[in-house]
């Protein structure tokens, strides 16, 4: 009988993911990417949602927030607004981002803050013990679909592309080097970057195993795909099944939230300014009929 000893993270917190969990690959890629980019830990912020991925914040020595279910996108937007100097990375799950939090997705795209959103997409709700998620396969058997999933699978790449996201990519947790490269490209991209990461759930998902993915994934950058071609990206987004593309689907430069909002653009990072009462008499004159 073998005893699995849980690994200890950089913070000293014990890592409680299942042995073989796809999250280990994402954690390794994340750490390598930040190290390679040479960003000091106090300049990095990670916001996680609720789910297995949501334990990530305990395992990394950077600034972190573990927020409530589905709300990573508004949080990373506001943190960037409050301190434009920070490298802000959101980590969400597929239940987190594509179910309860999907309503925020178009809006972070519309605002285009210079942040990165990585979705740990394992096609099930893991931490609540294996219910169907929006990216469960049609026919997939889960705790809430005992006769097979009857709902259509949500297509994250097509959804995000359709709303004009400025950096759209897909990674695979089983290919750490490739994922590391994607995270670095995403962080370097000026504007909102989105990476959907295919992540096997070794406990609750019998379909999307490492082997299943390895037999199917291929790298877009090895096929001559042009990431500036939105229509080509959109047609790649609908490729799923026998062949699954990973890599950068689409990349374009657009003005960011920090360019478009004057108080952020004109000032040093707002979080560094000292508290100072602002003058209000001018407002009383202009708006409220100040009379002697």
């Amino acid at each position: 009988m073998s005893v699995f000893r849980q690994p200890v993270s950089d913070t000293g917190a014990v890592i409680t993911w299942c042995p073989g969990c796809g999250n280990f690959g994402i954690l390794r890629a994340f750490k390598k990417a930040i190290n390679d980019l040479g960003i000091p830990p106090w300049k990095v912020v990670v916001v996680t949602g609720i789910g297995c991925h949501g334990k990530f914040h305990n395992y990394v020595n950077v600034n972190t927030i573990h927020t409530v279910h589905g709300r990573v996108a508004p949080m990373i937007t506001a943190i960037k607004a409050a301190n434009k100097e920070l490298t802000v990375i959101g980590l969400a799950g597929d239940g987190d981002q594509y179910a309860i939090g999907v309503g925020h997705l178009p809006h972070i795209i519309r605002r285009n803050p210079d942040v990165t959103l990585i979705v740990h997409n394992n096609s099930v709700f893991g931490l609540t013990t294996g219910q169907a998620s929006p990216t469960s396969e049609k026919g997939q058997i889960t705790r809430t679909t005992p006769w097979g999933q009857w709902e259509e699978r949500f297509n994250p790449i097509a959804f995000v592309l359709s709303q004009g996201a400025s950096f759209v990519a897909r990674g695979f947790a089983g290919d750490v080097d490739h994922l590391t490269w994607l995270i670095k490209e995403a962080v370097k991209h000026k504007g909102f970057s989105f990476i959907d990461v295919l992540q096997p759930c070794v406990t609750f998902d019998r379909i999307h195993t490492y082997t299943w993915y390895r037999e199917r994934v291929y790298k877009l950058e090895e096929t001559g795909h042009d990431p500036s071609d939105w229509h080509a990206a959109m047609s790649k987004a609908y490729e799923w099944g026998d062949k699954i593309p990973i890599g950068i689907f689409y990349r374009v430069e657009k003005p960011t939230m920090e360019d478009l909002l004057d108080p952020i653009k004109k000032n040093p990072p707002l979080a560094y300014l000292h508290l100072k009462p602002k003058k209000i008499t001018d407002l009383l004159e202009k708006y409220f009929s100040l009379t002697e």
């Binding site: 913070t11 917190a13 000091p40 830990p41 106090w42 300049k43 916001v47 609720i50 334990k55 914040h57 305990n58 020595n61 950077v62 600034n63 972190t64 927030i65 573990h66 927020t67 409530v68 709300r71 996108a73 508004p74 949080m75 990373i76 506001a78 943190i79 607004a81 409050a82 301190n83 920070l86 309503g103 925020h104 809006h107 605002r111 909002l261 004057d262 108080p263 004109k266 000032n267 990072p269 707002l270 979080a271 560094y272 300014l273 000292h274 508290l275 100072k276 009462p277 602002k278 003058k279 209000i280 008499t281 407002l283 009383l284 708006y287 409220f288 009929s289 100040l290 009379t291 002697e292």
Partner: protein, 558 residues
């Protein structure tokens, strides 16, 4: 207001954009006016519905200003000052939308107000729009001249000579809170439109260009609260604002702010419920909800400003308090306060901002260089942990919505849970001490409670009708004492006992715009004090002074 009169303006409108019946009341005088009265001296009727809906406000000396071609059914008992609005507009080539300024001119003539001052206020109203100013001034003048030239058989009311009273402004509760936010160095305001909190968002949007405040219209109240919370966490003052339904969506985030110990500010502008209720009307149904909203136990501060003037000072104060104690704060206002306009002394500039336990980046970095080990949730006697802006060299801010240790790393171990839970909760005791010692948590008006024949226990805008009722009851020889709770949570139980302990066996009524008497329930829960009876009003329209006075008299007779 320009002439030195004290004025209030109250609007009532349905939840629709074009058409329908809307009404606006102005009450002016030389003495401080708290609330509207149920006797309207001059009624300008643009539609037939005016007299159908507001006929009860007319008295024998009321004057009707109306276009006889449009409004046919004018009550017999009202004195008449007709003016052919449509004909005058047509003859002078004026747009129909300027009709209200023609009415302003007509009413000003009736009241004998000087034309130049009236035109000055028209200019101010449309400032920055030259053509609009010209057209509206013209319309106003035509109305003024028409009414001045009519031989009137009636004697219009005259205002006494105004008393000079220094620098003053006219402002709504929402706007006063917004100006407080500017003064308090708020750097981000995020909200989703919802009546009656939307005007606050509208004003804050202007502050993007004027005061360097990042204002964002979020995709939902959930997003708004999350963004404001994340901004606070990063180290800047941030707030959101909404009404009941939106506040319900923010509850999960409020609880998260409790766990993060983040000074998130939420403005809750109340309207009648349940559910969508009456979207454009006023209520005070969310007192207990604001205090207890959010799952789990955590300290918060809830303040209900007394009026528009108070709203400015309390907004700045709540920002300070929330930052001092690292707790979320709620400003509770009703639509009546949020949207009614009032003459108040010009707001003071000389307010002090407190950063509380936050260390500026440089201070923190120097401490860290000297060996300080930063723990974002360090356990202290007061429960408040020193904290730093995110991005401070050598310091990591880690916040977890799960129970966590002093580093902000998740922990479910019993001794950690005990330590951290109690650290958060003991702030409540110290906040209460601070509030009762250093802040005006309760206001008393009218006759001292120990001499009063009846005492009103109230909060928010319900105090205004109570103050008007006192004027009526004085004439009846009945002494009314009024107690208004400003800081509702932590409930100022010691000050409350001190004040209410002086009541000498006389009846105590809660006056609130709800049916349960929520302040009475709260007082009972926190102190055991039992009020005699509750006087509530839940139709969305605030009490008029005399209405409330009559209600109090009838309760005293029971």
């Amino acid at each position: 207001m320009y002439m030195g009169y004290y004025a209030v303006g109250v609007s009532e409108y349905p939840s629709l954009i074009r058409g329908g019946h809307t009404a606006y009341w102005v009450r002016a005088g030389t003495d401080k006016i708290y609330e509207l009265e149920d006797h309207t001296d001059i009624v300008v009727a643009f539609d037939e519905a005016t007299f159908q809906r507001h006929g009860w406000e007319i008295h024998d000396d009321s004057i009707a200003v109306y276009d006889p071609q449009v409004v046919k059914n004018v009550p017999e008992n009202i004195k008449k000052a007709p003016i052919p609005f449509r004909k005058l507009l047509r003859e002078n080539g004026l747009k129909p939308i300027t009709m209200n300024m023609m009415a302003v001119g007509a009413v000003s003539a009736l009241l004998g107000l000087p034309l130049d001052i009236v035109l000055k206020s028209v200019e101010y109203q449309f400032r920055g729009k030259e053509r609009v100013i010209e057209e509206n001034k013209k319309s106003c003048m035509i109305g003024y001249e028409y009414m001045s030239s009519q031989p009137l058989s009636i004697e219009p009311p005259r205002l006494d000579e105004p008393r000079p009273w220094g620098k003053r402004i006219m402002i709504t509760g929402n706007e006063a809170i917004a100006v407080g936010f500017v003064k308090g160095d708020l750097r981000m305001y995020v909200a989703y439109p919802m009546t009656p909190a939307s005007p606050l968002l509208h004003f804050m949007v202007r502050m993007i260009k004027e005061k360097d405040i990042v204002t964002i219209q979020a995709e939902s109240e959930i997003a708004a609260a999350q963004m404001a919370l994340a901004a606070c966490w990063t180290g800047i003052r941030a707030a959101t604002g909404t009404s009941g339904g939106g506040f319900a969506l923010m509850n999960e985030t409020l609880s998260e702010a409790g766990m993060f110990e983040a000074p998130l500010i939420i403005v809750v502008a109340m309207r009648p419920g349940p559910s969508t209720g009456m979207a454009t009307h006023s209520a005070q149904e969310d007192l207990l909800y604001s205090i207890f909203a959010g799952h789990g136990e955590f300290p918060r501060i809830v303040v209900a400003p007394a009026d528009q003037e108070d709203a400015y000072y309390r907004a700045v104060e709540l920002l300070n308090l929330a930052w001092k104690w690292r707790v979320p704060g709620i400003i509770l206002e009703d639509k009546h306060l949020a949207e009614s306009i009032r003459t108040v002394p010009a707001f003071r500039e000389d307010l002090v901002l407190e950063k509380g336990a936050l260390l500026y980046k440089e201070e923190a970095e120097e401490k860290i260089r000297n060996g300080w080990k930063y723990l974002p949730y360090q356990v202290t006697e007061s429960g408040v942990s020193p904290w730093v802006p995110t991005g401070t060299e050598g310091a990591l801010n880690k916040s977890d919505s799960s129970e966590h240790d002093e580093r902000g790393i998740v922990s479910e171990r019993p001794h950690i849970a005990n330590m951290m839970y109690k650290k958060r909760m003991r702030k409540e005791k110290y906040i209460l001490e601070d509030l009762e010692k250093n802040y005006e948590v309760i206001r008393t008006y009218g006759h001292p409670v120990e001499e009063a024949d009846a005492v009103i226990l109230t909060w928010g805008s319900a105090a205004w009708a109570s103050l008007e009722a006192k004027k009526h009851l004085d004439k009846e020889g009945l002494k009314l004492g009024i107690v208004q709770i400003i800081y509702l949570w932590p409930f100022p139980e010691n000050r409350f006992n001190e004040v209410m302990g002086k009541v000498s066996g006389k009846p105590v009524f809660t006056v609130e715009y709800n049916l349960r008497g929520q302040l009475g329930l709260l007082a009972k829960m926190m102190t055991g004090f039992t009020v005699t009876d509750h006087i509530g009003k839940i139709d969305g329209r605030p009490f008029r002074g005399r209405q409330l006075a009559q209600e109090i008299i009838s309760r005293l007779k029971r």
